[in-house]
Symmetry: C2
DNA sequence: CTGTTAGCGCGTTCAC
DNA sequence: GTGAACGCGCTAACAG
């Protein structure tokens, strides 16, 4: 039992084992050129003292890195991103690296702050779900040799590895499916077009309509909802139109859940039946989607895989040797699942 | 633009500003005893070079700490814990600290590994949702002066601050509510009793039954499901009994969601109607609970607040000065919400 | 096989 | 107001 709480150092271990600090260091790094019995004594001292090498001290030495990966996410509480984070963590752990997690709350200023802090902590690399359209802080990171991988969203003005979803393609196919099912008045719920995915999914949606000769009616388009409650409000507005849509395309899970909730609620208190409400298409699967009172289809994809891929891209650059390899831009496919049960 | 990517040091900034490293250091620490114009030159050099103080180097100096908090969670992908993590992150960020996040996957070995790694990185403190019943690694952390806060679950054999839910009380009240509603055959779905919350919620459930003189029927008790799929299987078994329960108490969101899914599915394919199925009581609220085909009540609580509280307890010990204060054990109240709509 | 020297980036201490 | 020296914990490089 340690008298006064404190973290032992190599010196103390060395003293206790009756050797020099160097021998301790060597033993801990595999034990080359250290006699077995000496190694044993060292290991005993390590165990008795509960010694852990000070990684911060190690990391300041030339050549050594911190083994830290900075991860900046817009909202960890969103199940989609928390699963993404899990994927990153798992993959990073495989190389013994740890993740430094920061929540940006979609705030570009906070993101820049976080990145600055991460750089100060000498992270090996950065994985960012960008909240901003500016990229100064990211380019800055790169200029110091700290690679950046963008996930889910890209940012203009920066050449960085990125892994995003097939937003346009998914939205297009989902919309076409609705049209093929006979819908011509299709509502749209999504987040603001200034966000990368918002813009792309909206584009895919529009492309499908135009390709099939369906006039785009601005009143049917609601873009800008970030939360479930905002999505409910927007849904209520759509449902309240004189000539409401017969289907609604939801560009993300927040908006789909808002739509499901609102429809469910109106169904509960009102006189209408389920068939009076629009059917739904959701970009993003979500738990209990199958409970929707109206038919719902999802454009599905795997956030964990997104995280794993982002981490692997970063690790490739760190460990793969080819740090100067060309920028890679990966687009993960999505799959359309009609009428989820 | 830096020629060869690299992280500038105080020396380079000093050289560029035409001063000594000390002056740079002083300027960055508030600028006492540095002439304003010199400070300006230093700040300019900092900006031009994109200099960030090396926190790892700073942290090895006596008196200084890493500003890192190690957070070990059993499953980040679980929305409950990811929201918890958000609470921790927010509170930590208020003191300029960052979180080092690790996923234990309910694996005690992994947890011990993570804690060891965190100690090596000289975290200021640890926030742990323990996966283990052993506590050697946690006691070890404390013995080195690194405080530990347990969240959601406690562990025997260790004196550490902890914040948990009123598991027993919540389960008791929820069960009483079911009994008051006329139920006498009440099923139980939960995770294994070897987990802290599993044990406590089960105890509250049993206590309510016994207090009301209802015989505990082992066949109605299913404890051990960790995933939604396992919960579905257990639900199916309960529903398939010759004399099935008229209500089911679900000890956590995974089990409640499994129950909802299974009932929903059977309702969809079968000939029975909703009233043929048991009503539900869920310890944990969850998104879209109100879509349950059978009446559902929830024992609600706030994971974000749990995270905030855990972080505050830790920060109090770190910054509050009273590091030797008595151990605090907080139990957060839960609220019963009947028939969620 | 083992120990000594030196230095990573930074900031306290002490001179000037 | 400013700078030089020293040492934090650790480990390559160089003795021995």
């Amino acid at each position: 039992m340690a008298e006064k709480p404190h973290r032992p150092t190599v010196k103390e271990v060395a003293q206790r084992a009756g050797v020099s600090p160097m021998t301790v260091s060597r033993t801990l790094s595999g034990g080359v050129n250290v006699k077995p019995d000496v190694q044993q004594r060292v290991m005993d001292a390590v165990a008795e003292l509960g010694y852990h090498r000070n990684e911060n001290a190690r990391s300041i030495r030339p050549g050594h890195s911190s083994g830290l990966i900075g991860v900046a996410i817009t909202n960890i509480a969103n199940p989609y991103y928390s699963t993404f984070a899990l994927g990153v963590e798992e993959e990073a752990a495989l190389t013994g690296r740890r993740i430094l997690l920061g929540n940006t709350s979609e705030d570009p200023g906070r993101e820049a702050e976080l990145v600055g802090d991460f750089l100060g902590r000498r992270v090996d690399g950065l994985i960012v779900v960008p909240a901003s359209s500016t990229s100064g802080h990211l380019a800055h990171s790169q200029s110091q040799g700290v690679p950046v991988v963008l996930a889910s969203r890209r940012v203009d003005g920066i050449e960085a590895d990125s892994v995003v979803l097939a937003d346009d393609d998914g939205a297009y196919r989902g919309t076409i499916a609705l049209i093929d099912a006979g819908h011509t008045r299709i509502g749209y719920l999504g987040n603001t077009l200034s966000i990368f995915t918002g813009e792309r999914r909206h584009a895919g949606f529009i492309r499908a309509l135009e390709e099939r000769g369906i006039k785009v009616e601005p009143a049917l388009i609601a873009a800008g909802q970030q939360t479930v409650d905002q999505a409910r409000d927007a849904t209520r507005a759509l449902l309240g139109m004189k000539n409401p849509p017969t289907a609604i395309f939801c560009a993300n899970n927040r908006n789909a859940i808002g739509a499901v909730k609102e429809i469910s609620q109106q169904l509960h208190v009102g006189i209408k039946t389920a068939t009076d409400f629009p059917e739904l298409m959701s970009f993003d699967d979500f738990e209990l989607a199958e409970l929707s009172p109206v038919p719902i289809s999802v454009i599905d994809h795997d956030p964990r895989e997104l995280g794993r891929t982002a981490a692997r891209m970063l690790l490739d650059r760190l460990d793969g040797g080819d740090e100067d390899a060309a920028v890679r831009e990966i687009e993960l496919p999505v799959s359309l699942r009609m009428h989820v049960r």
